[in-house]
Symmetry: C2
Subunit: 126 residues, 2 copies
DNA sequence: AATATAATGCAACATAGTTGCAATAAAAAA
DNA sequence: TTTTTTATTGCAACTATGTTGCATTATATT
């Protein structure tokens, strides 16, 4: 699939991700935009933006889905494999620009990896 | 909290994890045992077994909760930090006995880390 | 055997996410 | 510009995972 039309919801969602560089959870987006868009629309647009290589998704605390801007991904190749850091105090999630080396595993084919690190962010530490 | 009484549900659940060494999802356990125990009981007993350092939990595909036997953990110290491998074909999840080195992150305190690797297991590859 | 209280079942609830379908809006064609 | 095509949206209803309060039951202690 992927995005075909530049609709209001697409522009608004992209704008949310351009405001700052942190990742945003789907529930947060639904809360922020629920006066303008139905949650079904938000789920569907995020899905398509991920297909297009504009956003990437991952699971945070409690298995909640988060999205963040991709960096050098295309619709065909999601090259973004980096750890994510979630603060257990404030809940904020950031992408860590660290290259992780996947362990060698015999007799298995690795397709993707998710690495979630949890702790306290700089703001909550002080 | 933690387990205080050796009840039927505790014994049955421990037995499920002793049958083989794979991890088991909560939904799978509820399906297997739903004629014997209420799902609330299953959630609560798993929770307590984790508190006791008998089981550890992690999130698999789609944010579903999985449990597996701990190896050398106590109630005070969950020392198990290893990657998990989930087969995208058959859904099976295994603990990988690999030591992962957490990346150094400035200005952040690391409490825990989850590393989920997805792909195809040996059985589904052939 | 009597007592204290941990554990259980049940119903009701909370929340994340999905689906089908009719209505609407964006882009292409006329 | 107007018409036509069809992608997108909103809505309601639904599924699934997980949680909570409370009365009942079972375990362990006295």
């Amino acid at each position: 699939m992927g995005i075909i039309r530049k609709t209001k919801s697409v522009k608004t969602l992209l704008n949310e991700f351009n405001k700052n560089s942190s990742a945003i959870s789907v529930t947060e987006l639904i809360t922020r935009l629920n006066s303008k868009f139905n949650k079904t629309t938000i789920y569907r647009v995020l899905d398509k933006l991920e297909d297009d290589g504009v956003l990437h998704s991952f699971l945070g605390k409690n298995g909640l889905k988060w999205y963040a801007k991709c960096n050098g991904c295309t619709a065909d190749n999601h090259s973004d494999v980096h750890p994510h850091f979630q603060c257990l105090d404030c809940g904020k999630v950031d992408c860590l620009s660290i290259n992780i080396t996947l362990p060698k595993i015999p007799n298995r084919k690795i397709d993707l990896a998710q690495f979630l690190i949890q702790g306290q962010c700089d703001e909550c530490l002080t």
